[in-house]
């Protein structure tokens, strides 16, 4: 273990009040098993998994209830034992507020495990292990919920360095901090495992300097590990953004659209690494996570929660809101979203729930015009010119916005945070992006339609030509004799018909 001192400072970022200490006063608590668990089938980025159970089935804790469908998908398991009560559309913790399919389990309160089967990865080999990982249900627990096996399986690129994202830069959120304080041993074992699976040579843990307790735990547990180093990065939001953290650590700037694996780097969040370790070494699939509940909450703290647990149970256990306004935010205050309803279950992506402070939801002051003070440009961690992007977005000059690299914007919110004119800059960029995306789609559809039409015209022309050729050929083939023969035949047929008519009339 060694601590690396030098870092590469990225442009901008903001020093927001972290407000992390309010939720770290007590250790990770457990939430009791609820009577009903509503487990959404889609808790990850990718395809809806294939359902493996039906209503009335009895399931054990850890039993597969939905299987990954294709490679960009993740499995879902029963978080506790019980009976499948129904399979129906349920409300999800998503900004859209739209319902999606979920499985409702009536718990039998026994919490009886299915037989756990650890994976002997050294025996079955790396490829088979990564394949098995697809049915672990593990996704990125930092909040992105990207299926983890996909980050392991790239054969095309060689991974040299595993970077463990322990920065946790969003204000209020402390779930990773608490995990490191309490479960560092699992984390280090997990790092050794993931490093081997990736074939990486070394590991760097990137941690913000506002987590001294977690840091000392890491230092203690990595004493004898030469391959693991720790890099303490300054507490500047958004140091935990993957590409910003890689730059802080390695000085490599990975542009939009490129993956870190192309640079020999793979990054995992601390909780994800522990989940992988628990699955491979103990056969425990992804059934629960640590969630921070903080902000305007009577008892802010961290809970270990089974997926599917009603969010209300979490809120009630924390004593509810201090100042009641019934508004909750999922994720941190910089990048999270307001929950359209709290009648939702805890999911794999739910790293934090904030009781909204009154000032977070109150009507903000009317924005003043932009005075081009460029505070936003100074704060932008991507070195964009937010004031120009704002101007182009506002005046619907989307192509110009694209030219000024609108799509490189990571929507971290730093620009809005510092703006003295209170302009909701990020919202303008989201609007411009969505307009551009629908424009691309319309363009694509138009292209397809045009291609089809062009093909049809071509086909009709081809058919017409073919027909003309056929006729010409036929005409050319028939000689004069044949023609006169044809005419004679027809004449004979006509006279025969005339004879028949005469006979018919005679009979009359």
């Amino acid at each position: 273990m060694k601590i690396i001192e030098n870092i590469f400072k990225f442009n901008g970022g903001v020093k927001a009040q972290t407000r992390k200490s309010i939720s770290t006063k007590v250790g990770i608590q457990k939430i009791g098993i609820p009577k009903y668990l509503k487990i959404p089938l889609r808790q990850h980025i990718g395809n809806l998994p294939k359902l493996k159970v039906k209503e009335g089935d009895v399931v054990l804790k850890g039993q597969l209830i939905a299987e990954a469908d294709g490679s960009v998908s993740a499995a879902i398991h029963a978080p506790t034992s019980g009976k499948i009560k129904s399979i129906e559309k349920i409300l999800l913790p998503h900004p859209s507020g739209l319902p999606d399919y979920g499985v409702i389990i009536e718990s039998d309160m026994k919490d009886k495990w299915i037989k756990k089967i650890p994976i002997n990865w050294a025996k079955i080999g790396v490829e088979a292990t990564i394949k098995a990982l697809q049915n672990s249900g593990i996704v990125g627990l930092g909040g992105a919920a990207f299926p983890s096996h996909l980050k392991m399986g790239s054969k095309a690129t060689k991974i040299n360095t595993l970077i463990v994202n322990a920065a946790e830069c969003e204000p209020y959120i402390t779930c990773d901090d608490m995990v490191m304080r309490e479960r560092s041993e699992d984390l280090i074992n997990g790092i050794e495992l993931v490093e081997s699976l990736l074939g990486a040579k070394n590991t760097i843990i990137g941690i913000e300097d506002n987590k001294p307790e977690a840091l000392s735990q890491l230092q203690f547990h990595t004493k004898s590990h030469k391959n693991i180093s720790i890099k303490v990065v300054p507490t500047i939001y958004p140091s935990g953004d993957a590409k910003r953290l890689i730059f802080l650590i390695n000085g490599i700037k990975i542009p939009k659209g490129k993956r870190s694996s192309e640079y020999g780097i793979q990054m995992f969040n601390v909780a994800t690494i522990i989940a992988i370790y628990r699955y491979i070494s103990f056969g425990e699939p992804s059934l629960s996570r640590i969630t921070t509940i903080s902000g305007n909450i009577t008892k802010p703290q961290n809970y270990e929660v089974l997926f599917g647990t009603p969010l209300k149970a979490l809120i009630n256990q924390s004593g509810g809101q201090k100042i009641k306004n019934d508004n909750f935010i999922m994720g941190g205050p910089m990048m999270g979203f307001k929950l359209p309803s709290i009648d939702v279950p805890v999911t794999k992506a739910m790293n934090c729930v904030l009781g909204a402070e009154p000032e977070m939801i109150e009507d903000k002051k009317e924005p003043l015009p932009c005075i081009r003070c460029a505070k936003c440009a100074e704060a932008c961690p991507v070195s964009l010119q937010p004031q120009e992007l704002y101007w182009f977005s506002k005046s619907d000059q989307f192509e110009k916005a694209q030219e000024y690299k609108l799509f490189d914007c990571i929507e971290c919110g730093c620009c809005s945070y510092v703006c003295p004119s209170n302009i909701p800059l990020v919202q303008f960029y989201r609007y411009a992006k969505s307009e551009l995306i629908s424009e691309f789609r319309a363009q694509e559809e138009a292209d397809v339609a045009r291609e089809r039409n062009e093909f049809r015209i071509m086909r009709l022309e081809r058919e017409r030509q073919e027909r003309a050729e056929r006729n010409a050929k036929r005409r050319a083939q028939s000689s004069k004799e044949e023609k006169s023969k044809l005419i004679d035949e027809k004449r004979a047929a006509i006279s025969a018909a005339m004879d028949r008519i005469k006979e018919y009339e005679k009979k009359k």
Partner: protein
């Protein structure tokens, strides 16, 4: 609807706060100014601020904008103050009123109000006055020729009477330009020495305010430092060629409004460039133009024209000085 989306927290800063800090930063310079040139400065400031607020109020009403939101942003007060301290302390009230109206009504609101003005409002007001009333705009009192408040008030209300004309003096830049025009060599500096000393101290007052603004992160180093260094270098080159015909570089930096320009005029965000490189190009351009106008142009002081000219170039400068986006270099 917007406050339903992230980010949900915000730094407590506002345009008003920015403007308030700028006003605070002006105080040391203004105090020294009053010390050397008398209470007329304060009359000018008051008249400019009152005119600015009244005219802004009327225009906001006419434009159907929220008076409460916009008048409290403080930008009109800052622009009016910058204009007022650029005008001689013995100017009559109507000079201030005309200049301020130009600043607020024409340069600011006719161009779209806060955030939309292409030109530095205070400099537009100043340039209009300098072109229209050159005699009044270049007539400064002898420093520390104390006039009572009463005498200042008289001048402010009724203009400068002939009998007190004897105590005015030309600025060093003006004096030298006139002497050179007349074919004389400038060796005797006594006629403007006291004036030069006074502007030096006032300049240092503005410098202190500027450092305060930099410390408070209202301005970055790019504009003032580039301006001062550029002006120093250009002046040095000419001075080394001919020290008699051309003034030494320190005189250029410490006289006229150079330091006011460096920290308070070209740092106007609205009419200036936004990129770091752009700021350097802009400040360099202003410095070159200021020197050329001072030494070779028809006016003793060239800041207003230099700034207005460079304001025209800002869109071009910004377009071609975009910094490299993360990962695109």
């Amino acid at each position: 609807m917007f406050n339903q989306q992230s980010p949900f927290i915000q730094k407590t800063s506002s345009v008003t706060q920015v403007m308030l800090l700028v006003m605070l930063a002006l105080i040391p310079g203004i105090l020294v100014y009053v010390y050397y040139f008398g209470f007329g400065v304060l009359f000018n400031l008051s008249a400019a601020i009152i005119t600015a607020l009244v005219s802004e109020f009327i225009i906001l009403k006419m434009r159907g904008l929220s008076v409460k939101n916009y008048i409290t942003d403080g930008s009109a007060i800052v622009a009016a103050s910058l204009l007022a301290i650029s005008i001689p302390s013995i100017a009559p009230w109507w000079i201030i009123v005309i200049g301020t109206l130009f600043t607020i009504v024409i340069a600011k609101h006719l161009y779209g109000g806060l955030g939309s003005n292409l030109f530095n409002p205070a400099m537009v007001g100043y340039a209009a006055l300098l072109i229209s009333f050159p005699a009044i705009m270049t007539k400064w009192p002898q420093p520390i020729e104390y006039l009572s408040i009463h005498e200042h008030l008289n001048i402010f209300l009724y203009g400068l009477k002939e009998k007190v004309d004897g105590f005015t003096s030309a600025t060093p830049l003006d004096f030298i330009k006139t002497q050179l025009f007349l074919g004389n060599k400038v060796i005797d500096t006594s006629s403007y020495q006291s004036y030069a000393d006074a502007t030096k101290i006032i300049g240092i007052g503005y410098l202190l305010g500027g450092i305060f603004l930099w410390y408070k992160k209202i301005i970055t180093w790019h504009l003032p430092i580039t301006f001062i260094i550029s002006l120093f270098v250009i002046a040095s080159i000419f001075w080394l060629i001919d020290p008699i015909q051309f003034q030494n570089p320190m005189t250029h930096i410490l006289s006229g409004g150079s330091l006011l320009c460096a920290f308070f005029i070209i740092t106007d965000p609205v009419s200036g460039p936004t990129t770091p490189k752009g700021k350097i190009i802009f400040a360099l351009g202003v410095a070159v133009l200021v020197y050329l106008i001072r030494v070779f142009g028809g006016y003793p002081e060239g800041i207003a024209f230099a700034v207005i000219f460079m304001n025209i170039c800002v869109p071009l400068i910004d377009k071609y000085s975009q910094p490299k986006v993360f990962g695109h270099d």
